[in-house]
Subunit: 204 residues, 2 copies
DNA sequence: CCTCCAGTAGATAGATCGCTCTAGCTGGCG
DNA sequence: CGCCAGCTAGAGCGATCTATCTACTGGAGG
């Protein structure tokens, strides 16, 4: 396995960055926790810690992006999917002692004013998440513009709820934000149905 | 002025922490930027960087908490206040090149798994903000439970929108989150009015 | 067989980290 | 005036940071 070490470095870094952030995680700590030789880190990432950071952001982003597709299955009810999504996040928080929230939010805030390549990586990930969620909502019959708005405000609510939850060590913010988002999605679906029904009535 | 230096240290730290976070800000950088003697930092903050951090969190929290009272003036319309609050946040972001968002969110995410005293300071600040917003909504006639839910989901939306906005260098998330929150408040007010009208009708 | 090179391994450089320490300065009070 | 806190001022400590450097290993290909 040629790239096993490289992968282990990325995974371990992702874990540490999520918990303590980018700046407070040393490269020594990474290689130690990953049981990787120190030299290998700079062999695989000649750009140093910054290159590793950018790659970790993209890797975590892709991994967590799959969660969106896992919850918002085409054909299934988007309202209950939204509720389940937030409920799942709350459960994960509780199970991990409020450590596993968003894998990139901490790093995003840290670097968005100091490292342009890492900031861009974060922006790409967030955009990809918004796009994915938007598509799932469009597929469920909502207008594209409304879907995008919902996707953005859902992601914002979740990210913000994570901030509050980790600081207060309570899942209440996640649950309340989840309820609000679920209600918004329900309203959007109902509005769409009403409009569809009106159009249907008009047709005949 | 006996405590001018101390205050300058706190203000400068608040500025730096907000931009680059806690870990990436060195004490040397703080005293340099604050034009303060190095010894003074440890004179005023014998507990070192952690004590300074906790104090900066509380100080910034109190300062920004006043914004809530500035926007949600007793007697004024809460719906337009909500809209103005988010619009103001978006404008500040634009004016400061996406640097001045939440003064403590970055630090909160960084320390909530590593420093218990600083995590508690963050928790206290967030709680105080939620409490303040809740009171303003209660005063405008909304039920307390609903007010608290609105306050929490508004704060979460704003914090998350800040994360997205800083990373993508766009105020769109703030504007969309603001629109969603404004709609929620409007709905809550409308529901209250309907209920009040029903009670009124029932009465006579 | 030997060559070659990706990957392993870690010593070490050079800068910076948070922090301690001592000495000097200054303004108000006895 | 002399004295004593409160504060200023910065040299310097040990630790730790990122990154570079050289040396070694093991297996695939000529």
């Amino acid at each position: 396995m040629a790239t096993a070490t490289r992968e282990r470095i990325v995974q371990t870094s992702a874990d540490l960055f999520r918990r303590q952030g980018f700046a407070s995680t040393g490269v020594k700590q990474i290689v130690a926790e990953a049981s990787a030789p120190f030299g290998s880190l700079y062999h695989f990432f000649p750009g140093g810690k910054e290159q590793l950071g950018a790659e970790v952001i993209r890797w975590s982003g892709a991994l967590y992006g799959q969660l969106i597709d896992a919850f918002f299955i085409p054909g299934a009810d988007v309202v209950s999917a939204t509720h389940a999504f937030f409920a799942g996040a709350a459960q994960t928080l509780r199970e991990t002692d409020y450590a596993d929230a968003c894998p990139i939010a901490t790093v995003a805030l840290e670097v968005s004013s100091t490292s342009e390549p890492m900031r861009q990586a974060c922006a790409e990930v967030f955009t990809s998440w918004v796009d994915a969620a938007t598509e799932r909502l469009v597929e469920s019959g909502l207008p594209r513009k409304r879907s995008r708005e919902l996707a953005i405000s859902m992601l914002a609510s979740l990210e913000g709820a994570f901030v509050l939850a980790r600081a207060t060590r309570s899942t209440e913010p996640v649950e309340i934000a989840g309820a609000a988002c679920t209600a918004s999605v329900r309203d959007a679906v109902a509005a769409r149905r009403a409009k569809g029904a009106a159009a249907h009535r008009r047709k005949r």
